[in-house]
C-alpha cells in the first residue's frame, strides 16, 4: 500500500513558435569528418530547399571535411581568399563530429575619387 495520502500527475506543455529559416542553415556550414551529416547530405538538403544556392568545397584539414557555402558569397570574394579565412576561425571551434553553422557578412567598401 502506498505511503502517499494524495498524489497527482501533471504534464506541462510549452510551445515556442518561430519562423522556419529557409534554408535552415545560414551562410556557411563547416562539416566535421565524423559529423552525423556529411557534405553530400547537406548539399542535398539545401539543394531541395534552396536550389543551386550553395556549393560544397572539400577541404584538406585534419578535422574538417568540407565547407558548404552560399554561392553569392563566393561571387563577391573568391573561394581561395574566403575559405582560409573561414578555416582559420572555424578550425578553432570545430571538431571531427560537429557541424558548425556560420553567418558571414561581406560589406564591400568602395571609395573612388575623380578629378574635378
Amino acid at each position: 500500500m502506498s505511503d502517499f495520502v494524495e498524489s497527482t500527475r501533471k504534464a506541462e506543455i510549452t510551445i515556442r513558435l518561430s519562423e522556419f529559416e529557409v534554408p535552415p542553415m545560414q551562410d556557411v556550414l563547416i562539416v566535421g569528418r565524423k559529423a552525423p551529416i556529411g557534405p553530400e547530405a547537406a548539399r542535398r538538403m539545401v539543394d531541395i530547399l534552396s536550389p543551386e544556392q550553395y556549393e560544397i568545397v572539400e577541404i584538406e584539414h585534419p578535422v574538417i571535411e568540407a565547407i558548404v557555402i552560399r554561392k553569392s558569397l563566393t561571387n563577391m570574394i573568391t573561394k581561395d581568399r574566403l575559405i582560409p579565412l573561414i578555416l582559420d576561425e572555424g578550425g578553432k571551434v570545430a571538431n571531427e563530429s560537429t557541424i558548425i553553422k556560420a553567418q558571414l557578412n561581406i560589406v564591400l567598401q568602395v571609395s573612388k575619387s575623380i578629378d574635378l
Binding site: 565524423k34 559529423a35 552525423p36 551529416i37 556529411g38 557534405p39 553530400e40 547530405a41 542535398r44
Partner: protein, 290 residues
C-alpha cells in the same frame, strides 16, 4: 589457357544507392558477409563502400558521404596476374569488374589469391609455367625484347635413384630458393616442370648469357644438403630482336621456351653447360609496333 577475371568474378552483386543510409549498407554487408559494396546512383557506378569506410564514418550519414569515390576496376578479360598487380598497387580488398561502363562483377582478394594458388608450385615456392607465359606475353605486347633461360638439372633422375625422391625434392626446394636469390628483380622465374626451371628476361642475348652463367655457377658452387653434387645445363633463346613479328605473343613465348629447352638438351649432350638456340625465331621475337 590463361585464366582471366571473368572466370572467377562474382556475378551476383549486391549494391546500394548513394543516398541510402550507412545502416542499410552495413546491414546488407553483414547479411551477405561482404566487406565491400558497389554504390550506384541513377544506374551508374559512383563509388564503393568498404567496411573500413563505415568504421571511419558516422552511422547517421548517407552512403555518398562515406564511400570511396575513386573506383578501381578492370575488364572481364584482365588476366589474374594483372588483377593481382592492381590489388597490390592500390592496396584494396575487392576489385570491381566493368564492361562498357557497366558493372558486371567483382573479385575479392581472397578469391583471386586462391585461384592464383593453382599456378604456384608448393614445393619450390615458385610460380608454374603459366606465369611465364603470361609475363612473356605482357612484355611482348608492350614491345619489349624478351629472352628465355631454360635450366635443366643434370642427372637428376640418378640423384632420385641414389638418394631417394624425398632428397630429390629437398634439392628442388633448395634450388628454387637459390635461383630466386640470384635472379634479378626485373626477371621472372618459374618451375617449368620436374627439374626444369625457366627464367624470363627483358635482356638482349649477351646480358641474358651473363645471367645464365651466374645462375649455373651459383648451382654448381652451392653446397646442397648431404653434399649432393648438383649441376645444371641451360639453353637460351631470344634476345636478338630485329624486326616486329606478326605471330601472336603466346605462340612466340611458347616457341622461345621450346627453343631454349632444346638448347639446354644440346648443352647437356655436348657438356658445354650453356647453349644458345639457333633458329629462325631469334630474329623476330617482338610483336606489335616495336
Amino acid at each position: 589457357m590463361i585464366s582471366c577475371v571473368s572466370n572467377i568474378m562474382i556475378k551476383k552483386i549486391n549494391t546500394v544507392d548513394a543516398y541510402d543510409g550507412i545502416c542499410k549498407a552495413e546491414r546488407i554487408m553483414d547479411e551477405n558477409n561482404i566487406n565491400c559494396i558497389p554504390v550506384m546512383h541513377d544506374g551508374k557506378l559512383v563509388g564503393v563502400l568498404t567496411s573500413r569506410d563505415i568504421r571511419k564514418t558516422h552511422p547517421n550519414r548517407i552512403v555518398a558521404d562515406a564511400m570511396t569515390k575513386k573506383v578501381i576496376s578492370v575488364t572481364p578479360e584482365t588476366s589474374l596476374w594483372k588483377a593481382k598487380q592492381v590489388f597490390e598497387e592500390n592496396k584494396i580488398e575487392t576489385l570491381l569488374v566493368k564492361e562498357k561502363d557497366s558493372l558486371v562483377g567483382l573479385v575479392t582478394k581472397t578469391c583471386l589469391y586462391t585461384e592464383l594458388g593453382k599456378y604456384y608450385d608448393p614445393l619450390t615456392g615458385l610460380y608454374r609455367s603459366e606465369y611465364i607465359y603470361h609475363m612473356g606475353m605482357e612484355l611482348l605486347e608492350k614491345g619489349f625484347e624478351i629472352s628465355v633461360i631454360f635450366i635443366d638439372l643434370n642427372e637428376f633422375g640418378q640423384i632420385d635413384k641414389e638418394f631417394g625422391h624425398a632428397q630429390g625434392d629437398l634439392i628442388l626446394k633448395e634450388l628454387g630458393m637459390l635461383l630466386k636469390s640470384h635472379s634479378h628483380g626485373d626477371t621472372y622465374l618459374c618451375r617449368f616442370g620436374g627439374d626444369e626451371f625457366v627464367v624470363l628476361t627483358q635482356y638482349n642475348l649477351d646480358k641474358c648469357m651473363v645471367l645464365a652463367e651466374i645462375l649455373l655457377k651459383a648451382i654448381s658452387t652451392h653446397k646442397f644438403k648431404n653434399n649432393i653434387n648438383v649441376t645444371a645445363s641451360a639453353g637460351i633463346a631470344g634476345g636478338r630482336r630485329q624486326d616486329a613479328r606478326a605471330q601472336n605473343p603466346r605462340e612466340t613465348v611458347m616457341d622461345l621456351i621450346n627453343l631454349a629447352s632444346l638448347a639446354s638438351t644440346k648443352a647437356k649432350k655436348e657438356k658445354t653447360k650453356l647453349a644458345v638456340a639457333d633458329g629462325f625465331f631469334q630474329n623476330e621475337i617482338a610483336c606489335g609496333s616495336a
